[in-house]
């Protein structure tokens, strides 16, 4: 599903540098990415999503080499095949939960809204326990409810890859476990691949593999 080879990235010369010689994530796998703050976890996720372009090396998602794609193609791939979950939820405050969940369909012409989407929306809301909150605005929700809504937004397009950037980072311990359960349950239902950044080692149990960013922070071997 994901193949990274000799990935080399830095924001500008002489600053932070990320080097990943090899990383393979099979379809349906659960990969946790751990590491201290500033170790490049989010940067790696952004490169996998095609938001950032590496200085060198190759990243391919579902056999598509991201560096060979145009910006437009990368955007299309991102919105149709990748679900993104953010630490800060990033729900639009002026949209109801329902409209937030349908946001990918509103901001891109690639996706087409149809009855299947409506059905999927209702099922997702039901399964994640936010069916009763659909007409509320984000500021009327608890932190846990917001993150469950954000998970639903990431899954509404039935993506094959979920990239979650510390999705439990803003949650209390009870909500952490609940949200993680919802996320893993949904990933399993969708047979999706999950790459989740976290600095919480208590959550690593269910993951197939763990990538410790300390190994890759500092640049390629000379």
């Amino acid at each position: 599903m994901i193949c990274v080879q000799n990935l080399d990235f830095s924001y500008s010369p002489g600053t932070f540098q990320l080097f990943v010689p090899r990383l393979d994530v099979a379809s349906g796998d659960l990969l946790a990415v751990v590491g201290a703050s500033g170790s490049g976890k989010t940067t790696l996720l952004n490169i996998m999503a095609g938001i950032l372009a590496p200085n060198a090396g190759m990243v391919s998602i579902a056999d598509s080499d991201l560096s060979a794609l145009t910006d437009r193609q990368r955007r299309h791939m991102r919105i149709s095949q990748i679900g993104l979950i953010f630490q800060g939820f990033e729900l639009l405050e002026y949209l109801t939960v329902r409209d937030n969940l349908l946001l990918p369909y509103r901001i891109s012409a690639v996706l087409e809204m149809n009855d299947d989407v409506e059905t999927r929306l209702e099922r997702l809301a039901e399964e994640t326990g936010i069916a009763d909150l659909m007409m509320r605005f984000p500021d009327e929700l608890s932190q846990g409810e917001r993150q469950r809504a954000a998970i639903c937004r990431a899954l509404i397009t039935s993506p094959s890859l979920i990239l979650a950037d510390e999705p439990t980072g803003n949650l209390d311990p009870d909500n952490k476990q609940r949200v993680l359960r919802v996320l893993l349950d949904q990933v399993a239902r969708h047979s999706a691949t999950l790459v989740m950044v976290t600095h919480d080692h208590d959550l690593l149990g269910p993951f197939d593999s763990v990538l410790d960013m300390r190994e890759y922070h500092g640049g390629p071997p000379i």
Partner: protein
């Protein structure tokens, strides 16, 4: 496009107060110059029309504008009076028709216009209910003064005394309303018309009281010397002209000396007009002649200059407001950077996000144009009423 409009509308609806303030600010900026232009154009047209329909006006020496306001708009200023003898003088020249005007008193907020029946023909004022003036003590009301006072023929109105504390001032006179005029859209709609003799009675030049020659009046008589009688203050003056007391009303002094505020002169023809104008253009004359159209044109030229200044000020304020609105949009986009970033990370094209933000701005502008348009439609539909209200407000 549907999704773009949906998102833009959701944003504007959620921040409805901000949206409302922006729409209101832009609407005002659009509406102000347009409405000002309309009101001024409409007002100018009406001022010119009334002035052009009034060939010549004679008045006492003084402000030509004050004379115009008194003659055309029944503003009772501080004009010195003319003598009624001038009416006969003009008629004797055979050069035109002279219509007396005595504008000094009021019924509440409405001017009492003392004139002759010729005024109604001159202004083409038609009675819609009742009849014309026939006797002293009668009044014919303009359409709007009748409406405002809630008066019908057969009812009465009472003139407003100058001051409650001045025992030598004018006393209220009860006037019997005998007719109502059709609306004309001019200042005539706001007037209470009476015969010029009635206006003199209101002013105290003419009055009525019990016949002191009768035996029952002897208690008030202090001295009899042939036909001359001297009475004390117990003689009560009538405050209403009725068929019973009409014969007791009389004027002291000669009619020729009775006051008028102005005389409208309708020359027989152009040549007669020129002759009449020349006749009273002597700077040493106790009468001045003015051509209303010239006076009003001069006044409007001043208004035109003021209009340019006002429009320039509005334009300046408009530019400042639009700059502020642009700043608000710009700051709003800055504040929404996180939202924009989220949409881009999910997969939105920068162009599409730009279109969403642009649509929000366009919707605000469209709503502002709509609101300003509705306001202009209202001003257009109620233009006559609005202008009448402005004129009436000027009289209050």
């Amino acid at each position: 496009m549907k999704s773009i409009i949906f998102l833009a509308l959701r944003y504007l609806a959620y921040y409805r107060w901000k949206t409302g303030v922006l729409v209101a600010a832009i609407s005002v900026i659009l509406f102000l110059p347009l409405s000002l232009e309309y009101v001024l154009d409409h007002g100018t047209e009406r001022l010119r029309a009334r002035a052009q329909a009034t060939p010549l006006v004679l008045g006492a020496p003084g402000s030509a504008i004050e004379l115009m306001l008194s003659t055309l708009y029944f503003e009772s200023g501080n004009l010195a009076p003319l003598k009624y003898a001038l009416i006969d003088e003009i008629h004797e020249t055979m050069l035109g028709q002279a219509i007396p005007l005595q504008v000094k008193y009021r019924v509440g907020d409405f001017p009492v216009v003392g004139t002759s029946p010729d005024y109604f023909d001159f202004r083409d004022l038609k009675i819609t209910n009742g009849r014309r003036l026939a006797l002293a003590g009668e009044a014919v009301l303009g359409a709007l003064s009748a409406k405002e006072l809630g008066i019908s023929p057969g009812d009465s109105v009472i003139t407003t005394p100058d001051t409650v504390f001045d025992v030598t001032g004018t006393y209220p006179l009860k006037l019997k309303v005998v007719g109502l005029l059709q609306p004309t859209g001019t200042q005539d709609d706001y007037a209470v018309f009476v015969d010029v003799k009635t206006s003199w009675i209101i002013g105290g030049t003419g009055h009525g009281h019990e016949d002191l020659a009768r035996p029952e009046a002897s208690g008030s008589v202090l001295k009899r010397n042939g036909k001359d009688l001297v009475a004390n203050a117990s003689v009560a003056a009538f405050r209403e002209v009725t068929p019973d007391n009409m014969a007791d009303f009389h004027f002291h002094g000669g009619v020729a000396d009775f006051p008028l505020s102005a005389i409208i002169v309708v020359p027989r023809d152009v040549k007669a007009g020129v002759l009449l104008e020349g006749r009273y253009q002597n700077p040493n004359s106790s009468v001045r002649v003015v051509l209303p159209s010239v006076v009003i044109d001069n006044l409007l030229n001043t208004v035109l200059i003021v209009r340019q200044y006002v429009l320039a000020a509005i334009t300046f304020v408009g530019v400042a407001t639009l700059a502020t609105v642009a700043l608000v949009f710009s700051l709003s986009i800055q504040l929404r950077r996180s939202e924009i970033t989220t949409m881009m990370r999910i997969g939105a094209a920068p162009m599409r996000i730009g279109v969403i933000l642009g649509t929000e701005i366009l919707l605000v502008l469209a709503a502002s144009v709509f609101v300003a348009g509705i306001a202009m439609v209202v001003v257009n539909a109620w233009g006559d009423a609005l202008f009448g209200w402005i004129l009436m407000a000027g009289n209050l």
